[in-house]
Symmetry: C5
Subunit: 94 residues, 5 copies
């Protein structure tokens, strides 16, 4: 899983019917100590997240299974809202 | 999922029979605020998209399940046409 | 899926028995308008492709399902030979 | 699988119920002889690892299957604590 | 699949019980004509490979299925020892 910030929303019409009723959010992966930003990912919100919140994202087939639709058109989902991160910076490689 | 623009089409003969009847489109992932362009992906169109449209793409096993063929030779599918994107640029990391 | 050129062949002995009877080809992903070349991938040929041909490659669990062996040791397969690509260059981001 | 160091912890509320009872750890992939650091990954701990330990991480659907929940919201898991690595540096490409 | 060289071994205790009895090897992906080296991957050996050998590696859910354990903690496996590679260098993009 990875940590990112919800930076926006997206509306698609038409869209696959498995997505109907789900909110689609743009999530920018957090850079931490890296130099390059990464591309925002579109994730299904399963937890009630909103713009500006730091969230936990799962990718791949686990995201599809999560929405309970075996044919679901989903490969990324928000599965948590993050309250606290504790990193030991002395352990980071440079 | 990710957002891209349909930039072209592709014809393959022979091709795996699971692909027969599906349109194959080139989709260029949108860069947003990144520096590098990314390689176009070949996606199956399940929604009726055309060149010049901004679309939502799902990858991996979810794309295969979507076309309803358990043995389908598919790892990317267009699942929506995007009407509107709202990004809060102030939330972006630089 | 992605587009590449068959640039060579590979012989492995011993190899997993699910691969016996399949041809293994090196496929170089096409760069299009990118600067960096990408590493050649080893793909199972399911279509009768040969060196010098431009092919369509599927990756992940879809490639395994394709060869009809649930325990198959495969994560990339050639699923089509490409005759024609039409790209609208004016739509490309730079 | 890949090798990394546990560099911290993370608390998420609310979170998907499949994660309840599991510890979420930040793992920094080890660079070895590379120049760029990679982004820390959030992995479920299945082995009892702690900050400062070098661990083995599995990704993708294998991580989900590991926690024994077919609908689990998991795509990365710590599956071992590493005691010893022996690399033959003369075999490395530069 | 991809081609790499076995550059070392790894011992993990404790480790997930699905790994017991399997040898874990570090495999460095071969660069071919690329500039950047890639990070070594930890793969389960299913074929009897050793340090210094050039091997074929499969990733993802195919690697898990290969060891015959539906809950196996595996996302990469060595599936062949490579005897011969024939590349047509004139077909490479630069």
């Amino acid at each position: 899983m990875w940590v990112g910030m919800v930076i926006g929303t997206l509306v698609a019409t038409p869209k696959d019917e498995s997505l109907i009723g789900f909110k689609l959010l743009f999530v920018q992966p957090k850079k931490f100590y890296q130099k390059q930003i990464r591309t925002p990912v579109v994730a299904v919100d399963t937890i009630g997240a909103g713009t500006g919140e730091t969230v936990l994202v799962v990718e791949g087939s686990s995201a599809r299974h999560l929405i309970g639709k075996p044919q679901g058109a989903v490969d990324a989902a928000i599965i948590g809202i993050i309250n606290n991160i504790e990193l030991n910076k002395y352990l980071l490689e440079e």
